[in-house]
Amino acid sequence: MREVAEGDLDAFGQIVLRHQKLAWGIAYRFLGDQHEAEDIAQEAFLRILDAAPRYKPTAAFTTYLSRIVTRLCLDHAQKNRPLPIDSRPVVQDMNPSAAERMAVQDRDRAIRTALDRLPPAQRMAVVLRYFGGLDCRSVALAMDTTVKSVERLLARARDTLEPLLADHLKE
């Protein structure tokens, strides 16, 4: 980041390549739309570029990036309503069997529908915790809130998701 602050665009490119999957993954899982997710991820990296001279490494860079993407996603959610489910492309899976592919698409669609039923803060906590694999403390850092608040968000989200995803939560 020191090199980026000095205007080294190659160093910035390395950061983008290394962390694009994280930024894109959070934005896509939260928004469910490829174009919007790309816009958010791009904006996150450009904000990192703008803020590079003031950057202080107080936490892991991934936490810093997650926080920026999270903030952008939540701001976006405040301004826009979620897209209708049918207008979204379903992520293609590489399973060979058509039946399996259908099952995966059904599961993805069910998850997407269930996520869209959650208020933005709960949705983001679920995306970071369950899809991003972050622990509760990292989720709290990314969402700029407390661990207790994250625990409450996740508990409420579980109560909503359990009946909606009952078929996919069976053991």
Binding site: L9, Q20, R129, D135
Partner: protein
């Protein structure tokens, strides 16, 4: 430990983020509580479901597009940075400029106050009403009653409407 607290801690519990004494307390509770056991199972399955989902690939050329935008941004300042910012301008200008701006503000307020004072509407009554108060005979064209004989009804009416004006004078 109560159900409410266990439900809050269940996510941290299933991923082993809690200190040992809290884990022991939760496990004791789970042995006796079906609802919380079910909540723990749901949390575990949600984590498994999230991990099983295929991560969508980053769009082709994403990094190159970000790089190109970064080059453009460095070549010309962002609109937000170049736009006029009153607070930033105030910090940058020298102290005499602050005094001049304050003087302009004070003079403007003073001129506005004076202009407002001089053009302030007074409690003047409309001209017709003022004339009536001064002399009802002129205002209401009652001069034809001037020839009424003394002690007549017209004379009495004339005395009635003209007496306040006469007293005022």
């Amino acid at each position: 430990m109560r159900c409410e607290k266990v439900r809050l801690k269940i996510d941290a519990y299933v991923s082993g983020e809690l200190p040992p004494r809290v884990i022991v307390a939760i496990e004791q509770h789970l042995k006796a509580c079906d609802g919380c056991r079910q909540a723990a199972a749901v949390a575990r399955r949600l984590i498994a479901l999230g991990q099983a989902l295929p991560t969508p690939p980053v769009p082709d050329g994403f990094a190159q597009r970000v790089q190109a935008m970064a080059r453009q941004r460095i070549a010309r300042p962002t609109p937000a940075a170049s736009s006029w910012n009153l607070a930033a301008w105030w910090r940058l200008v020298p102290a005499p400029m602050h005094a001049a701006a304050a003087a302009v503000l004070v003079i403007g307020l003073a001129v506005g106050l004076v202009m407002g004072w001089t053009t302030l509407p007074t409690n003047q009554v409309p001209p017709a009403q003022a004339t009536a108060q001064a002399n009802p005979l002129d205002a209401y064209n009652l001069d034809y009653l001037g020839d009424a004989p003394s002690g007549s009804l017209a004379d009495g009416y004339l005395a009635l409407v003209s007496s306040p004006a006469q007293e005022g004078k």
